[in-house]
Symmetry: C2
């Protein structure tokens, strides 16, 4: 993560305040405002059940234009029927009135408990205040306002110089639970001053999401509200039409998104460990993905990670049920640079001692070498702890 | 469960003793002995990684004949390479010597930690004792000897009278963790005095397993050692060639297997609740299975069950990611006979109060009505508790 106070992007302003949706006066209402009309692209949950703001955004995003995004936490505005849809519309219409902009360029996002009506009056009452607080330097407030069970706000930013020009990207995300591929993150907002049409921006964003938000897991569930939006206002004067610029932009965007993705896992509910499940030497990319995905989601592997137990048998057993054919006698399993299982055999107590030391650290890699081909794939997962159970057993109370 | 002391089957003897594989002199070695050569059929783990005894049994079962099954707990004899295979062979050969029977009619099963060599000498040392203890009334000892993290031995039996004849079925199973469909149970042994050829016996067993062991889940993992065997010695004089007899037998077997399956979930690691996830009104059986499976495996649903939280939003969200297209506004969710979500709306506080009472009980059903067709399917799942994490964080220590 960059130094938070420096994460800005020319032409974009942010704010975050408390509307009283969450308890204890915590920030729960955030705003992104673009001084000029920006190109927008987005990715949304693939869940059949979709929250009202998701349905609204998916309609509006067809225009490719945006001026503002309003976000609340503490309530998902999902399974709230016609009233929920009306509330999502009101939220954007009322903000458009205050900002004196076209409501069709205003997007909404919500996160929190499902099935309860949004207190739309509480939101309307503070919209002027929300707008008053807008500042280029307030990304941190927005990042706080979108948190649910997250314990820290998450931001990332990058400035890239090309000749005498620069472009900027800044981003925030919230996650905590319900993290898995298929649009893993609950909420993710990216602002950039690059110049782009919607199609190219979308391609870049999809690529970055695929190698960040789509390779992480906390608990294997997905939400009804997952929303990732990218806004590009073009004021850098650098355009994605230039292949070279696009290359630099893609690289910077990938880095920012992967930083945020890892931060989401590390701050997952009850999480103590960030573990990369890296499959190498697979016969196909699909095989590598299936195996890394199955190991990353195995509750038995995740509880062993929590217990700092070098239980490679569970890793092997998870590989074996991934739906991939392989020879268990060829495969090897490594924790960072220590091999624990090789050519069908356990590597002995010295190896186990070395692995035990690795298991005590906060971040490490489990490498599964299939020795069956040239394809590789990584997933980022975490431990499964008492605290995950505690947080999720009484989430609504 | 039936009265345990009465669970017997003519022609079969059982024993269970301690060989010192498990700590504290716990029973860890069990034996099934058939006085005459029985027909055998089996189902084995679909995991690519398979333990030595599984590999051995899959070879021997092609003959369709059995005289004995020897089982140890405390060690899975898996990922133990050539030595593991040799140990599995020795285990059956040495027992065959003591019993003076053909080693090719002796089957083996192991359950416990993966990747450690079996103490085969310890087993050999007690084989005479194991045989000495054989008795028709000792199914309970076998049931104890196959336990790992199970807290209670699990048995079931049935005697069915047809005219002036009777047939008997008795069975035991062990489970605890690593329970999911695709051959869910770790070990399951069924003995019957029905007369059957291997093909018909296999069909009946597959049918019974599909509606019992294959519709339960504890943690969604599968093991490398899953083995279910059925032995039929034919001495009842009733044959499965008779359609009427087969009908009675299938029904009795289904009942026994479902009883055992539910007992496995109830005794799952850290489990406090047995919950049926019943999907009705689905457009197809496949849809019903996908939705019940996804809800039954959702960690968020399972932690809410633990927390006794009527979090129907998570149930709906899990339905939505099952890969089935449906209209969330049509679907309804019920806890036993109380509706909590209907026609796109939450049913209010009175409904929630009623559901809260249901959630406090040990067993209940969550019914998801898709209102989209005539197909239904049930899965049995459990809560996800602190104790599950505790048991699995330090399983090897």
């Amino acid at each position: 993560m960059n130094n938070q106070s420096k994460i800005t992007c020319p032409g974009f302003k942010f704010s975050g305040i408390s509307a009283g949706i969450k308890k204890k006066n915590l920030k729960d209402l955030g705003l992104i405002y673009s001084e000029k009309t920006a190109t927008i692209s987005g990715l949304f949950t693939r869940n059949v059940v979709q929250a009202a703001p998701v349905i609204l955004d998916k309609q509006r995003i067809q225009s490719g234009k945006a001026r503002a995004v309003i976000v609340n936490s503490g309530n998902a505005n999902c399974c709230t029927g016609d009233r929920g849809m009306a509330d999502a519309h009101t939220m954007t219409q009322s903000l458009a009135n205050v900002l004196q902009i076209d409501k069709n360029y205003v997007y909404a996002a919500s996160t929190g408990v499902i099935g309860q009506y949004l207190n739309i009056t509480a939101i309307e009452n503070v919209l002027s205040d929300l707008v008053d607080q807008l500042s280029e330097n307030n990304l941190h407030d927005l990042a706080e306002a979108i948190m649910t069970t997250d314990t820290v706000p998450k931001m990332a930013g990058k400035t890239v110089q090309i000749g005498d020009k620069v472009f900027n990207i800044c981003a925030t995300a919230k996650g905590a639970g319900m993290i898995r591929p298929d649009m893993a993150t609950l909420l993710n907002f990216v602002c950039t001053d690059i110049q782009a049409d919607q199609q190219v921006l979308h391609e870049c964003f999809q690529t970055a999401v695929d190698q960040s938000m789509n390779i992480i897991t906390v608990d294997g569930d997905t939400s009804t509200n997952d929303t990732a939006l990218i806004l590009a206002n073009g004021i850098s004067g650098l355009s994605l039409e230039e292949p070279e610029i696009r290359g630099y932009f893609q690289k910077a965007l990938n880095t920012i998104m992967l930083d945020l993705a890892k931060a989401l896992v590390k701050d997952g509910e009850g999480v103590n460990k960030l573990v990369e499940i890296r499959v190498v030497g697979a016969y196909s990319l699909e095989d590598a993905k299936k195996i890394s995905d199955t190991v990353a989601h195995s509750n038995l592997v995740k509880t062993a990670i929590f217990g700092e137990d070098a239980n490679w048998g569970r890793i092997l057993a998870a590989c074996g049920r991934a739906g991939v054919d392989f020879d268990p006698l060829k495969l090897s399993i490594h924790f960072n640079d220590t091999t624990i299982f090789n050519n069908g055999s356990y590597c002995g107590e010295q190896a186990e001692e070395n692995v035990s030391r690795i298991l005590k650290s906060d971040e490490y890699a489990i490498i599964i070498d299939m020795k069956n081909g040239k394809y590789s794939h990584s997933m980022y997962t975490c431990d499964f702890s008492y605290d995950y159970v505690r947080i999720n057993a009484d989430y609504r109370t």
